[in-house]
Amino acid sequence: MASLLDVRNLSVSFGRNPAVDGVSFTLAERETLGLVGESGCGKSTTALALMRLTHHARIEGEARFGERDLMRLDDGAMRRVRGSEIAMIFQDPGTALHPLIRVGEQVADVMRAQLGISAAEARARALELFRKVGIAAPEQRLRAYPHELSGGMCQRVMIAAAIACSPRLLLADEPTTALDVTVQAQILELIREVSSEAGMSVILITHDLGVVAGMTDRVAVMYAGRIVETAATDRLFAQPMHPYSRGLLGAVPKLDGGWDEELTTIPGTVQGAALQGGCRFAPRCPLAGDMCRRDPPLEEIAEGHFVACWKAR
C-alpha cells in the first residue's frame, strides 16, 4: 500500500516543554489510524501540528504528504491544503463552528474558498452534503445557527464541512467525546461511511479504547509526547507488549464480567514525565529496571508491531 502521510521525528514544543517529542508514523491510503493516550500525551498537538494550527510552537521534523513536506510549505500553500486535502473535525462542535454564521453558509464558504465555485453552486452542494450526513429537514437546517442545533447535529455539520472538498485525509480529534453514547454510535457510523465511500485516510484521536477497537486498522499508543507502541488494531488488543498499553487495556471497565474484581490500575500520574531522562514510563512501570534509564527506541518486534521498551523485546 502506498503511504499517504509519512511523519518523521515530529517534535512540537511550547516554550521549553516538548508536547510532542520525536514522533514518527506512516499512514497508508484508505487506512484508519487510531492515536490513543491519556490527556496531555500529545495526541491532539500532533494533529494540530500536521495542520500547522499550533500557535507559538516550535516544530521540528517533517511530515511528507505526497510529494510535499507539510512542515515546510509556505502559509499560502498550507491554506490551500487545509480543507481541500486535509480536513479536521474537533471534539466540541459547538465551539468549532462560528456562532454567528448560519451553518449552511459555513459549509458553503469552505467550498467557495477552496474550489472557487459560485455562491449558488456552493449552496446547492451544501444542501446535498447535509442530506448525505443525515441531517433531517436539510433546507431549514442550512439556515440555522449552531446554537439552534444539538451537539450531534453540529458534529454532522462539521463532518459535512470536512468532506465538502473531498479531502484525502481526515483528522478527527475526539469527535464523539462530547456526545451521548447513542449519538456517538450514529456519528461513528457516519465517519465510517463517508471515509470508506470517498477512500479517505483517517487519523482518529481518542482516549476511548472501545472506539478505537471498532474504527481503526492500526493503533499508535502515545505516552508523554512519544509513541510507545504501534501495531495492527487486532494485534495490539490481543498482544499488547508495552507495559503502558497493557495497563491501559487492563484499566478499562468491562461490560461483560469480572465486575466484582478490582480493576487493574497504573500507579502514579503522568505529571512531569516529559521532563525526565530515559524511559518516561519507568517511574510508573512494574517492570522498570536499570536499563530503563536509557531511552528505549521504537523497534519492530514482529511485522508491523513496534514497541519502545527494553523489557518487551
Binding site: T182, A185, H207, L209, G214, L255
Partner: protein, 326 residues
C-alpha cells in the same frame, strides 16, 4: 429495608414564557441499606436532578423523599442538620468542587465545622479521612492546583465521607478522569462502600463503569426511570428497547467482536425535555413503537420480582440484536 426512597418525585424548572422543564417526572425508587444503585442515562435524562434531590441539594416540586423513614422537608431543624451529615454528595468535576484558594485541610475543616463537628474532633478527623481516601495526611497543606485530577477527586470523596454519612450520591465521579485514574477511583469508591457499609447512588452515563460499581441498575430517559433490575439481568436481557440500544451503542475494547456486532442505531437524539412526546416518551426514537405507544404512556411494571420496566412491548427488541454481553 430501604434507607432512601423517592415517592412520585417530580422536579420542575420554569424556563419563562410558560415553558416548564420536567427534569423529574414521577420517579419512584428505593435504595436499600448498604446497597449501591447505579443510575444511567444520557444528558438531560434527569439523573443529576434525582441525585441532588435525594441528598437535599434541591427540593422536589411534588412527591416525597424519605430518608430512614423521615421526610426531610417536614423535619425540625435539629433533625434536618443531622440528615445533612448523613447524606453527602460527590461532584463530577473535582476542580470546580474545591475552593482554589483553600488548602485541602482547610476545605475539610470548614465542611466538618459547618456540619456541627467541634474543633478537636475536626482536627483529628481531617488526616484520618485524607488517609482513607488514599491521599495521606500530608495532603492537608496542598492547594487544589498543586495536585492531579485524580487526587482532587480523592479530596472530594474525602470531604463526602468525612461526616461519616450513611448515604452518598456520586454524580459522574470518574467522567472527568483519564482511564488509569478512573480505575483507581472506581476501586476506591468500591472499597469505601464495602468497608463502611455505605448506601450509594452512583450516577454515570457509562454502563461499563456502572457494571463495576453497582449490583442494581436503573435506566433513566427524559425524567423517568424506564427500567430497573440487577445488573446481570439488565445487561444480559434488557427488556426496554432504550436499554437495549444503549448497551448495543457502547463500543467494546475488543476489535473482532466490535466488527461482528450489529448495533441498534437509534434515530435522532433525546427530544426537548420541555416538550416531551405524548404517549411513551421514547416512541419517536423507538424501532418497535406501535400505535399504542404513541397514545398510552406506559407505567413501570414488575416483570420479575426485581425487574421493572416501563414499556408496552418489553423484551421484543433484545432478541433482534446481539446483546452486548455473552
Amino acid at each position: 429495608m430501604s434507607l432512601v426512597e423517592a415517592i412520585r418525585l417530580e422536579r420542575h424548572y420554569a424556563l419563562g414564557h410558560g415553558r416548564v422543564l420536567r427534569a423529574l417526572d414521577g420517579v419512584d425508587v428505593a435504595i436499600g441499606k448498604g446497597e449501591t444503585l447505579g443510575l444511567v442515562g444520557e444528558s438531560g435524562s434527569g439523573k443529576s436532578t434525582l441525585g441532588r434531590t435525594l441528598v437535599g441539594l434541591q427540593q422536589p416540586t411534588m412527591g416525597n423523599v424519605r430518608f430512614d423513614g423521615i421526610d426531610p422537608m417536614t423535619a425540625d431543624r435539629a433533625t434536618a442538620q443531622l440528615l445533612r451529615r448523613r447524606r453527602q454528595f460527590v461532584f463530577q468535576d473535582p476542580s470546580g468542587a474545591l475552593n482554589p484558594r483553600m488548602t485541602l485541610g482547610a476545605t475539610l475543616t470548614e465542611h466538618l465545622r459547618v456540619q456541627g463537628w467541634d474543633r478537636s474532633a475536626t482536627r483529628a478527623r481531617v488526616p484520618e479521612v485524607l488517609e482513607q481516601a488514599g491521599l495521606g495526611a500530608a495532603f492537608a497543606g496542598r492547594y487544589p492546583h498543586e495536585i492531579s485530577g485524580g487526587q482532587r477527586q480523592r479530596a472530594v470523596i474525602a470531604r463526602a465521607i468525612s461526616t461519616d454519612p450513611d448515604f452518598i450520591v456520586a454524580d459522574e465521579p470518574v467522567s472527568a478522569l483519564d482511564v488509569s485514574t478512573r480505575a483507581q477511583i472506581i476501586n476506591l469508591l468500591r472499597r469505601l462502600q464495602s468497608l463502611r457499609g455505605l448506601t450509594m447512588l452512583f450516577i454515570s452515563h457509562d454502563l461499563s463503569v456502572i457494571a463495576h460499581s453497582c449490583r442494581r441498575v436503573a435506566v433513566m430517559y427524559l425524567g423517568r426511570i424506564v427500567e430497573i433490575a440487577p445488573r446481570e439481568a439488565l445487561f444480559k436481557e434488557p427488556l426496554h428497547p432504550y436499554t437495549a440500544a444503549l448497551l448495543s451503542a457502547i463500543p467494546l475494547p475488543d476489535p473482532p467482536r466490535e466488527r461482528r456486532r450489529r448495533r441498534i442505531i437509534l434515530s435522532g437524539e433525546t427530544p426537548d425535555p420541555t416538550d416531551a412526546p405524548q404517549g411513551c416518551r421514547f416512541h419517536p426514537r423507538c424501532p418497535i413503537a406501535t400505535e399504542m405507544c404513541r397514545r398510552v404512556d406506559p407505567q413501570i411494571s414488575m416483570l420479575a420480582p426485581d425487574h421493572g420496566v416501563a414499556c408496552h412491548h418489553p423484551g421484543k427488541i433484545a432478541a433482534r440484536a446481539e446483546p452486548a454481553t455473552g
